[in-house]
Every structure is written in structure tokens, then in C-alpha cells.
Symmetry: C2
Subunit: 505 residues, 2 copies
């Protein structure tokens, strides 16, 4: 439970001292900006991280060691920073059993400014939750989004997640899980594969070839040793010496021996150099040797942009070598490591957790924050989020409405820009084919109510949402801006509160 | 122990099948490129992550659950992927008790291409170690390096690490530890503060002000409530409504009340807007009210570049407002969050773990890897690394030498570029004032021999090394290239092995 920021605890003590700690409140989790990778940008995010957050919330309490650690803290004046009575309260009531969360399910496409999860509970513990919630959801959503982009630019070929070695300490496991939700088909991470019920994937390293070379058996000896142990799933890494001159010819020799013994070799892996060119030349050599069904695994600094470039180059170049580019692309497999697990180009999702309502004297009061920057104003009050689909069945806008509002599909629907006061849009009556509420109960008074969605369910969520996303919003570079909007009522509430706050300071 | 890549285990089984699993070998850990953040670049790294790696190595074994999970894996042909006899061996001998590590100590400055740690042990387990070792050392060194750059551009003012909420799941803890080694003075992370023996730092959030506003008590009410609980360490966040019009005037009111009651207020925090301008205006207001000793905490997307810009702007602008810029800078404190914990601009350190030697029939044989790219060739053989200091006491080069070589300071020392064959440099006899071996025993046959260096020791390592680093290598943008070189003997070995490998394929 000490996996939090100090200020959550010092604020909780202020609330406790004032008797506000059990007042019900609502925080919204949302992000303001899609990941911007520099040369390319996301137009949507894939939500992930919720499952492990809920695990953490339901398993974690203040232990006696935690309380002791807090009791040992001293203020600058030398006194204990935390009142023993507050710590006693924390030891007993310092859990998340009174918290209710409505959330978008994992794997779904989510958008900037619309609440992705709303958290309701007693003020002190809901405040203390902030750090861990953001920590779980921001990183996982960042990586799921990157994985979705990688898969979306890979023409349907398998994506293997290989990033553990460059991932952020034990946090890499959460990143791998998110990658599997977001678009990776498999991972090399043994532990997470077992947790997720997947077969872990891998080939071998240069070191294995080097070891056999140092013993005088050479690359061919290494390949034979590997093929002997894994005759039915033999993928050989061919670039330890020279891919075209040594690795592929040696692999072909070993594949021939496997075939003679009745086995089907799986593939070769290219891990350096000009991957598009080498894939073409490798395919030529393999085809000539009668191995046109052997996969070509590409790895080395892959991400969505690199894949897009490699596939474009193959399409342009393969015909000059007498190869069908579609057939070549159809045998590719991608090993995607560092750039996926660290979200290369954009290393953080700036998701925030903002107080939007507080119950006081039996009445829910909206909470507002002004700011030097209008984009930083959260949307006040308790609310629901509706996704509107057009007549083609594509998502056209996410609309934030009041708790008891519902879109009337038979009337014109006027929606407002989330922070530019004069900007709006009217969806004509009948133009919206369906309205879907996005937030579901996932935790009610501390108990999970969403079961534990399977990996397949979370992946299906993503696939279904991507199919209903405008291609312009999905595109690699400069995506269209998806509309997240406020209902007229929420917009009026926002303007009223801004005026009130500015006057009442 | 399943925190690893599948291929480590499949390779280990190949070694076991061939009876090579207990052959002694040496892997080197090193990185090839300093972090490049786009607009600015690192000229050095600060090494971190070793302590927690050694903890993991000495605490982790294959559990029966791990073995069961591996036993459940099936090959593409349907048979168990792992031989039961191999798994039995793994259950007994699958530990790191035979591994010896010599390493640069944590906190020290390290450079590209020179081994940072050399790992010696039996082939199978030393191979299996790869993933976790890289995972622990790459991320931590990346973050320690970023922290060092932040601190180096902050003119000696305190750096508070605030990044847990945007950090990578539980891995953020390792990042926070690295930040504390690399340059952060304190952190808001409660758990890690306790582990490292530091007081966790924090102020309060906007939500606290919002909560009091929603209850009709306003910002002033929130500030008073906070000051009442923390009268001796009161830092107030002033930008919930409007920093200059509301937050700072309200803070001054509360500070006055605190002073009347005999307390000394600590500071205000600015978290949005033009931080340089607001710091100047805040200082003016605080000075006029008699609080010229109150700290100004800056946060919001800070990193080394932002700090450099803010401090430059303060130096240029403060005099126009009648303020002494040095006095103003002397009251600043930096809260550095997202951009530190995620190493904004460069989200991975590409550290690698390469086989460099293998014992075979009682003889150590160097291991070589060729590659499409010459920079990717590791330096073969068992070796030591020496740091040479010039007559000013500044580090002038790190030289990789053979195991039994030692620099002769009384003779000319010829050193060679690590991968450009014809490039070298001669250090004239007498020009080198000292030669220091960089690698120390930290793990001998699975037992820790370096104690557990304290945080202060690791920080002292960094400070001492930075003082002996050429200012050009430390600089923010386009740093000088520090020389990492090979002795003549290591260079010859490398060239011989390249020729041998190219001929012997």
C-alpha cells in the first residue's frame, strides 16, 4: 500500500482531521492527448491495465509494516508527521472495499477527454488510490496502443512481443500483458505467457552460434544441434556471421536434413541489416531450395513506422527479383521488442485522475478546477459516456452526458467541443444509428463484478472497435481527430462552475 | 525464474543435451550508444540497477510451479518441449550459485562499448540470466543517467522525483531507486523512500483545493486546513484557480497566520503555465509580503532541457522585475515526474549481453560475432577495463585490455578505436597521471562480495566521477565523444577472430 505518493497520505490525513474522509466523491480517469511519436501520431488509444489494477485493489491493505513505516516519519518540526489516531484509522479502514468503479472494458478503443473510468468512494481512500491507478492504467494503455498500431501496420501477419530485456524492470510484465491485449499475438516472456495461457515464442540467440563456433563446430554445428532438439519448430537465426553468405545456406542445409527425417522446418530469423532487402534475398534462396513455405521472422528495432517502410519497400522491390510481394509478405513474422515495450517516440500517456464531484450534506456537488490552460479543465459532475455510431456503423463521436441524460436518436443531437466554448456540431435526427454506453460496472463496493475477461474477450473488444473506427482515425501519420463532445447540459454546468469559481475566490 | 525469454530456456536445453551446460563462459554487459533524446544527447551514463539484480539472483530459483509450467509446454509436434530429465536438472541446478560477476559499482559514470559488467559461469545458467540482467540494468541505467542530467542542469537546487503515476507499473520503483542514485534528492514514492532511508516528499494536489471549494470553503479554506495539519512543512499548490490572482495571495494569507503562530512556512508550488515568468512574479509577491525565504517549487513537464530554458529565462528576465536572479534560483526546488521516470526522448538503453569467451577442453576460447554492422561486433575474450586520467585529473579514456595486461604509465600507450580498424591515438609517456581498474568483484560463486553499498556511497561515486569528467562530455547538447579504446593486443585478437570466422563458415 506504500506504492503511492506521499501527498496522497498527507491529504488523507487532512480529510480525516476535518472529518471529510468518508464523504463520497467521484474522480474521473481520462487522458488529454493521444500519444505523439514525433514522426507519427495515434488517433485513438486501446485501454488496458484494469485487470491488474483491480487485482491490486482487492489484494492490498495497509500492513502493520506499512503503518510502522508511516509512524516513523517525522515532520520538519520533529514531531510524527502522522497522528497515531489517523494511523489507527488507516490500519482498519485503509482499504478499497467501499470503492465503486465504472469503466470502459479492457481492449476497447478510447479517446482523449472522455472519462475512461469513473471512481466513486470515500474521499480519503479514493484519493489514496490515485497514484496506483494512474500507474497501472497509463503505462498499460500506452503499450496496448502501440501494439495496436504495430499490428495495424503489419498486414495481418503475426506479431511476437520480444521486449522484456529492454523493458522497465518488473513493470515489463504489465507492458507485455498490455501488448498482448493491444495487438501482439504471442510473447517471449515465459511467465506472462503462462499467466495468459499462451505458448511462449522464441528462436535462439547469437550466443548459441558463437558458443558452437568457439568449440570449432561453426554455425552449421549450432543449427544442427538446435534442429535436433526442436525438429518441429525450428527457427534459425541466420545473421551471426553473414545472413546471405553463411546463415541462410547453412539453414537450408539443416532444413533439408529435417525434411528428410520427416519434419517441417518453421523459419529463419533476420536480426540486422536492411530487413526488406534481406527478406527478399532470403525468400529467393529459400524458394530455390524448395522451402517456399518457411517463415521469415524479422526483428531489430521494429515498430509501426519501420514495418510500414519495410512492407512498402518489399512491395516495390520484390517484383524486380521475380518474387510476388504478397506471397513474401504472407510468410513474414515480426519480432517486436524495445520499441513496443517502451512505446518508442512517446514514453508516457498523460492520463490524469481528477475530482469531479463531492457529496456534501447529502447533495452531490460538482468539483471544478480552473487552470492557466483551458485543456486542463476537467469535465465537472457525475456523468455517462455514450458512443454514437453513424449510418455506416462507424463510431462518429463519444459524448459526455449528465448521469440521467440519454441521447435521443429521433431528434437533432447538439454536441459541444470539450473546452472550446463556441465550437459545436449538430447530428441531424436519424443520422445516428446507435448509441452505446461505454462505462460498465467493474468494481462495486470493492467487489469485482466483471469477472475476469479472458484475453480473447479483450482482443475481441479491440478488433470490434477498430473495425468501427474511421480509417482516417486509424491512420499512421496525422490521423483525423475523433470527436469527443459534451452534451449541452454538461457544457452549461462547466461554464457556470467556471464563472462561480472565478467570482468566489 | 520465469521472468525470462523462452529462448533462454530452449537454448539451455540444447546445451544440456550436448553436455555443454556446465562449460564455463563469459558474457559482457555493455551498451553501444548513449541515450539520444532528440534535441539533446547524453555523453555518459550513470550505472544503476546492480543491487536489485543481485538481490534477484540470490533469491530466485526454479520453483516447482515454474517447473510444472515448463513441463506443460508442447512443441508444434505435440510432444513436451522440455525433456523431463532436463527439467529435473533445472529444478536442482537451475540457480545462479556458480556465477561470478565483476562490475563497475553503481553510481559510477560508464561509457559506450566498454564492458560495464562481466559475467562468468556455467553456460546454461549464464545464458538464462541474460533477460533479467538486461531488464534490471538497462532501465535503471537509463533513468539514473536522465536524473544525472536533470540535476546537472539545475544549478545545485533540490530535485524531487514525482513520477510514480506515469511510471511503468511496478517497474517504476526500480526507476525511482535509479533516479535517487543518479541525481534526485528525494522522491514522493513512499515505499521506495522507506527502503532507501529517505523522507518522502510531497505537497498536495488540486483535488484537495477542489474538495474544499465544492464544500464552499474555497482555496483559502483548503490552504488553512493543510497548514493546520502541517504547520512546519507547509507547501501550498497555488494554481488550482489562478496562481497570481488567487493562489499566491491566499498562500501569503496562510503563511502570515502560520508565522504569527511561530511556524516557518516552507513554500509554494507552481504546476502549470510559464514557470519562469510565474516564478518571477511569485517571488515578487512573496518578497513584498515578507516571505523572501519561502521556497518556490516548480513542476509540470520538467526535464534537463526545460530546466535549462527556465533558468536561462529567469536570468534574463528577473532583473527587469528588480529581482536578483541568483537569489531567485537559490529558492527553487524542482518536482520532476513523467520525463524523468520514462526518460523522455529516449525510452530505452540498448545495453546488450554478449558471449565473449567459452572454456573448452580446459582452454578459454574467445567468442566472436560478425554482423552486417561493425559497431555490433562485441569485443572478444576475457578482459579488464582501465580508466586513464590525464595530468588535470580528468578521465581521458577507458581502455579495454587483456586479462593480464596493465597500462604502463611510463611508456607511450597506444589505444585503438573499438570498431574502426585504422583509427587510434597515442598517449605520450607521462601524460597519464593514473590508471584505475573499473571492474570489481560483486558476486563470487553466487555470493555477494560488495556488501550493499549505501545510497550515499552510490551518490558519492557519481559525484566523484562527474567532477573528473570533461565539461564537454557533460554538456547538455552535442557532448564531446569520450574515448573508449582497445589495447593493441585486444585489437589484434579481434581482427584475427574476424578473419577466422569469415574463413571458417
Amino acid at each position: 500500500m506504500l506504492f503511492t505518493d506521499e501527498y496522497q497520505l498527507t491529504m488523507a490525513q487532512v480529510y480525516w482531521r476535518r472529518g471529510m474522509h468518508d464523504q463520497r466523491c467521484q474522480f474521473d480517469y481520462f487522458f488529454r492527448k493521444y500519444p505523439d511519436y514525433g514522426e507519427h501520431q495515434a488517433g485513438y488509444c486501446v485501454f488496458a491495465g484494469l485487470g491488474w489494477l483491480l487485482d491490486w485493489m482487492t489484494e492490498t491493505r495497509f500492513t502493520s509494516e506499512d503503518i510502522e513505516a508511516l509512524a516513523s516519519q517525522r515532520s520538519a518540526g520533529g514531531q510524527p508527521r502522522f497522528d497515531p489516531a489517523f494511523l489507527e484509522w488507516l490500519a482498519v479502514d485503509g482499504h478499497f472495499g467501499d470503492i465503486t468503479i465504472r469503466s470502459v472494458p479492457e481492449g476497447r478503443v478510447v479517446h482523449a477527454h472522455a472519462p475512461v473510468a469513473v471512481i466513486e468512494g470515500p474521499l480519503a481512500m479514493t484519493q489514496i488510490l490515485e497514484t496506483s491507478l494512474l500507474n497501472h492504467l497509463n503505462y498499460a494503455t500506452l503499450i496496448a496502443t502501440k501494439a495496436s498500431r504495430v499490428a495495424d501496420n503489419g498486414r495481418g501477419r503475426p506479431v511476437l512481443e520480444f521486449g522484456l530485456r529492454r523493458g522497465p524492470s518488473t513493470g515489463a510484465n504489465a507492458g507485455v500483458r498490455a501488448a498482448l491485449i493491444g495487438g501482439a499475438d504471442f510473447t517471449s516472456d515465459v511467465g506472462i505467457s503462462h499467466v495468459m495461457g499462451l505458448d511462449p515464442k522464441g528462436t535462439h540467440a547469437h550466443s548459441m552460434v558463437q558458443a558452437f563456433m568457439a568449440m570449432g563446430e561453426g554455425e552449421l554445428g549450432a543449427f544442427r544441434a538446435y534442429a535436433e532438439v526442436y525438429p518441429d519448430e525450428c527457427t534459425l537465426l541466420v545473421d551471426t556471421i553473414d545472413s546471405l553468405e553463411s546463415g541462410i545456406p547453412n539453414a537450408i542445409t539443416v532444413f533439408g536434413e529435417l525434411r528428410q527425417r520427416g519434419h517441417k522446418p518453421f523459419g529463419i530469423r533476420l536480426d540486422s541489416g536492411d530487413l526488406a532487402y534481406l527478406a527478399i534475398r532470403a525468400a529467393q534462396q529459400l524458394d530455390e531450395a524448395g522451402f517456399d513455405d518457411v517463415a521469415i521472422v524479422l526483428s531489430s528495432n521494429l515498430d509501426e513506422l519501420a514495418l510500414w517502410q519495410i512492407l512498402s519497400q518489399i512491395e516495390a522491390e520484390a517484383p524486380r527479383y521475380g518474387l510476388d510481394p504478397d506471397a513474401l509478405i504472407g510468410r513474414l513474422v515480426y519480432g517486436v521488442g524495445t520499441r513496443l515495450i517502451t512505446s518508442h517516440g512517446c514514453s508516457a500517456l498523460g492520463g490524469v485522475y481528477k475530482l469531479v464531484a463531492l457529496e456534501h450534506e447529502g447533495v452531490w456537488r460538482p468539483a471544478m478546477k480552473l487552470s492557466e490552460t483551458p485543456e486542463k479543465m476537467p469535465i465537472p459532475g457525475r456523468k455517462r459516456v455514450w458512443r454514437l455510431y453513424d449510418q455506416r456503423g462507424l463510431a462518429t463521436a463519444d459524448v459526455v452526458m449528465g448521469e440521467d441524460e440519454e441521447p435521443d436518436l429521433d431528434a437533432d443531437i447538439h454536441i459541444n467541443h470539450p473546452f472550446r466554448a463556441a465550437v459545436g456540431r449538430t447530428l441531424a435526427a436519424g443520422s445516428v444509428s446507435a448509441a452505446e454506453p461505454l462505462l460498465e460496472d467493474v468494481l462495486v463496493s470493492g467487489s469485482r463484478t466483471n469477472g475476469r475477461p479472458s484475453l480473447d474477450t479483450m482482443r475481441d473488444n479491440r478488433v470490434a472497435d477498430l473495425e468501427r473506427l474511421d480509417p482516417g482515425v486509424r491512420r499512421l501519420v496525422n490521423p483525423h481527430r475523433y470527436h469527443v463532445s459534451l452534451s449541452d447540459r454538461v457544457r452549461r454546468l462547466q461554464l457556470d462552475l467556471i464563472a462561480e469559481a472565478r467570482n468566489g475566490t
